[in-house]
């Protein structure tokens, strides 16, 4: 069965780019530009994987992450964090602290922007535990 991936990013260009790569390699994609929309789509589509930009306005990326992890059904969905917000750039911000809480499972993978297609595919395949599917 075709795997469904929900892509959450506030930049439309990033959504186009990521979804094109994933579609080209046989995944079905849903895109969300806001946390609220992403939450609804996650509930409705039950994706197999979610890519999430942390650096969305109002720290909503972080809130969405916590909400997803705490949800009974959605909590099991693997999450790949894709962000331009790197430790190297902002050494004073321990952004992983925003995500990690004792009770919450950490993300399955981290990717830094700009994301090379190969790196994205490799990460997604590894997290889903299987090879890509050709449509």
């Amino acid at each position: 069965m075709t795997k469904k991936i929900l892509i959450v990013d506030d930049e439309p260009a990033m959504l186009t780019y990521l979804s094109t790569i994933l579609q080209d390699h046989g995944y079905m994609t849903f895109c969300s530009q806001s946390a609220e929309e992403a939450w609804e789509k996650a509930l409705k589509e039950s994706p197999d994987l979610i890519t999430l930009d942390l650096l969305m306005p109002e720290k909503t990326g972080i809130k969405l992450y916590r909400d997803l992890r705490k949800h009974d059904r959605l909590g099991a969905i693997p999450i790949v964090i894709i962000t331009g917000f790197t430790q190297e750039q902002y050494p004073m911000i321990d952004f992983r602290k925003f995500i990690y809480e004792r009770s919450i499972r950490g993300p399955e993978a981290f990717l830094e922007k700009p994301v090379a297609p190969e790196a994205l595919l490799e990460t997604v395949e590894k997290v889903l535990g299987r090879g890509p599917q050709k449509s």
């Binding site: 506030d10 930049e11 260009a13 990033m14 186009t16 780019y17 094109t20 790569i21 579609q23 080209d24 806001s34 609220e36 930009d53 650096l55 306005p57 109002e58 331009g84 750039q89 902002y90 004073m92 911000i93 922007k113 700009p114 994301v115 090379a116 297609p117």
Partner: protein
Amino acid sequence: MFWTPVSPKKKEAPEPEERGEIANVSEEARGGLSLLNLLPSYACVVSGERTVLWANQAMKRDMGLVPGMRCFEVHWLREEPCGECPLDMVASTGKSFCWEQSIENPQTGKIQVLSQLIPLPWGFARGRCFLEISTDVTLFKRRQSQLELSQREYKALFEGVPCYISVQDRDFRIIKTNGLFQKEFGRAIGRKCYEVYKGRDKKCDPCPVERTFVDGQIHFSEETVRRRSGEPMEVVVYTAPIKDNWGTTYAVMEMSTEITPVKTLQRELATLGQAVAITAHSIKNILGGLDGGAYVVRSALRRNDPELTEKGLSMIQEGVEMARRLLQDILLVSRHGRPKLEDISPVNLALEVISLFQKRAGDLGIELQLETMGERNLTFRGDHKGLHTALANLLSNAIDACASLGAQGPGKVFLRVHELEEVVCFQVEDNGPGVPEEIKEKLFREMVTTKGNAGTGLGLIVTNKIVREHGGHLRYRSSPRGGTIFEIMIPRKPVFGEKYPEQTGLSSG
């Protein structure tokens, strides 16, 4: 060499006076004279003819005194009485006389003595006698001239060093200054340090002078002080204790060296370094966007999907647009000095800038308002193009901040013009989410963007640079409405450093 009493039995016996002996002196007087042997000074009794009748041990020991010698022979190795001998004067007035003279000491050469000539009350064999007591003050004199020399050297140093020096008491009251200090800060004696340096009414905290008073050690700090002209000056301050004989610090010497040019250079270098880092980061983002666009276009062509092709192309277009903006910002940051000055009316400038953003704000459902206070619209001197860019940067940031509110809107942005006596103030207030705590510190200095790929991060650095070139300030604070207020203050009378002399009629290119 040493004087030894000559026995009267040897050879023919001359008269006691000729032998240099005192005759017919009471036992009591002899006893008094013998006490003079204990003095650490030279003491002798001379007759009216200047024959040495008696000398104390110190004189006999040091002066090679031979009986019957005359005082000028002893003191001066002379054959004639000295021209300015006070003996006649003392003889005629009957009053003692004190003077300074240098005499020959056969062992150590010329020495300086303080002498006192006293007419003796006792009657001696022939005529009157005089007691001369001389104290060696050579060492004291040498010390005195050394002290005078070091005082001259100290004064030359105090006045000559390229530092502003003041000496302060425990109440931070200035008790002494050097010429350079007075030239730059005016007459300061009797005034408080913080008053003269900073125009404050209470002491600074921390204060290096206070610390030196507490621990008696040297301290230093970097301060921004105010010249007499009101212009700021950055200085490095050293404070050193001045101690009394008991080691207690009773005053502190404060030495300040101007480092304004060094600081300016340091800031410029730091900005340049950051600009390079920001540029590299922006180029990375731009390349990422271009790569992504190219990928999308290729994929769209394969799929024969015109809509996706369009999307990919607009990603490429956006990358090119970002590169253009980056280039513009780099040019502004690296532009050297000399804003092109012209008369600007503050309200007109604000209107021009706000009209650029009406459409964008409208599309995003953000309320954009101009408020004026003072409403005099008096012109001021400034670089129109530069200030236009600065205001546009702030407005653009404010709109972006509101745009991120999304459903929590509606966003509101105010551009305010306050016309004050000495300054023109532009305020840009938004009700956006505010500046994240984590980047507040770095706001004007480093690459800071909360906009992901959208901003170059140079915007505020550019804005800050433009405002500083006008001698103004850019600052921000949290707005009571939850957002942020950025404020540009431009002095009506331009304050330009040496680097930016006012130019008229010349284009800065």
